[in-house]
Symmetry: C2
Subunit: 341 residues, 2 copies
């Protein structure tokens, strides 16, 4: 069923039917009701491409997700982010188009999305320090929002970020307050902006306590369970092992815990673990009391908020760009306790 058929069926012009359906005031309420009813009856919805061609926009938001070249891995927070963003898109009648891309094809993918006029806006994931995508997206002139920030970038752009620096500073200070001195940092990849900020927060708190971080107790890498496991294992097996771990993701923290368990070390008693927690739906940090002491911030909520920011920006392109900084909540769980030494 298309417009032509439907309007013919109703004995009205395409104009009138289109206007009736799109809520324009030039149509009498009686006619509108008749049209709406017929449309529902025949399951008519405007052809998305024809409408897009006529209006000049796609009502589509693009998500370009880079898989790491090494592990072909997609960020595990992605699903939850989508769930949050998807709800917002659905509520506003937008579709979400997802493009998987290796890092070397990133720029081309963005350009292509623009050239094809495939999307009205973009969400940029996982910004790196001084991320080259930022000037690129500016150049393309597509509305976009960033999940996170990019240090050193000297362009203005809309973003929503968690205060990673403060979160890690506070968590480190908390561990220090428990008497820990040898604290290990199991960080994300330090090409990523968030990881850089987290390390900075960690370093600041250590310095404030007059401690200098041991390079042997700091690692950077893709946040998988086995990465957490292998690095924690190596650190614990050192002659002078850490008494506490600061971890960048609950997925890594599971690996850290496994390394401790294997060695008969009890988390929270023998060795402490504090971790960042994105509140992933399938890895909830305990139902009643938190399993891990954690800096929490829901990535699902971030997805929903960013989607809203982007839609706002698309609908009011001249409004100033929004910047949102969320504070992570430090919750004390069973994985931390006083230092043993």
């Amino acid at each position: 069923m298309n417009l032509k058929e439907l309007s013919h069926l109703l004995g009205l012009s395409q104009t009138t039917v289109s206007r009736a359906l799109n809520g324009y005031p030039e149509v009498s309420e009686a006619t509108r009701a008749r049209v709406v009813k017929a449309a529902a009856q025949h399951n008519y919805t405007p052809n998305i491409r024809a409408r897009g061609l006529a209006t000049g926009h796609s009502r589509c938001i693009g998500h370009v997700i880079s898989v790491s070249d090494s592990a072909e891995m997609v960020n595990p927070i992605f699903g939850d982010f989508m769930a949050g963003a998807g709800a917002t898109y659905a509520a506003h009648g937008y579709d979400m188009i997802v493009t998987r891309v290796g890092q070397k094809d990133e720029a081309e993918t963005y350009r292509n999305l623009k050239a094809r006029a495939a999307v009205d806006g973009l969400v940029m994931h996982a910004p790196r320090a001084n991320d080259p995508r930022l000037p690129l997206l500016k150049e393309l002139g597509l509305p976009f929002v960033v999940h996170g920030r990019s240090t050193e970038a000297n362009v203005d752009y809309a973003w929503l970020d968690v205060n990673n620096r403060r979160a890690f500073q506070d968590a480190t200070a908390y561990l220090i307050s428990l008497g820990h001195r040898r604290i290990a940092l199991i960080n994300g990849q330090e090409t990523m902006d968030f990881a850089i900020r987290r390390r900075a927060g960690f370093a600041t708190a250590m310095a404030e306590a007059g401690l200098s971080p041991d390079p042997a107790l700091m690692s950077s890498g893709e946040m998988t369970e086995s990465y957490g496991h292998s690095n924690a294992a190596a650190m614990v097996d050192q002659p002078d092992p850490p008494t506490a771990f600061l971890v960048s993701s609950i997925i890594c923290a599971v690996g850290v815990r496994r390394a401790l368990d294997e060695r008969g070390l009890r988390p929270g008693q023998d060795v402490s673990i504090a971790t960042f927690d994105d509140c992933l739906s399938y890895l909830a940090n305990g139902s009643d009391t938190p399993v891990f002491t954690a800096m929490q911030s829901s990535v699902r909520d971030a997805g929903a908020a960013l989607a809203q920011m982007l839609i706002d920006q698309i609908q009011a392109p001249d409004a100033p760009l929004q910047h949102t900084l969320w504070e992570a909540e430090l919750v004390i769980g069973a994985s931390t306790g006083p230092a043993k030494d």
Copy 2:
């Protein structure tokens, strides 16, 4: 830059430019080269909507992901599935559109996708037993493929599934061969087809060994870490606890392991765990020797294969529908050992 401008610039008609770019033979190679060069120079790519309108198809594949009404959870395998499927789509010039939907709006979402002509085909996720989406999709007449199968459904449809029944039967038999008699099943939601098959496999192997499964040792639920933890904890705390666990997902298995660790029970020595493993990139089952004894099948590979099946079906609508059954590989890890009793 659009076709009109580009053709004007080249002093050619739109027809010729379009044909040159699309590889039609009616264009001289000299002209084609000139056109291709100019297109690249001016970063011209056909407007996706105009092309779609003219050709009648969208070069878009739809993924409708249902979030559970309770937990608002999106299946954790989703990201990896996408990574696999996305690579195939990209290779064939297809886009992927993802729609998040609550279960009650499922049917409407599919109908809407069809009515708007938004996609050329669909991937159906997480089929339930006798899934109502199957007749619906048949009715809509959109090409689609199913990740999994739907028992009792009496329509023909294209699917790719893992032999869940056999995997669980074999794993159960393996546990029995180790001397286990009280084996617990931590299953996925048994509204899901795959979970039903897994239970059947489990039951078959038990029956073949002359054992009858204890209803108190069988649970069904959304496969989260805390689901695995709480159910395993409850079972282990019973007067007559299981000596082995058969788990439906490595994420749950992590929860099961946590329950054991809390109680000072060593996995593989005091209590055994065998789990299904989707080979999630961020939860690899050990780098050298497997952490868990596991039935493995890569969901990323499944995504890639299903995407290919769907594209084949779109391009050859009259070919017979493909059915693919993969066998999971049983790998023996550190989490299983002889029964203690």
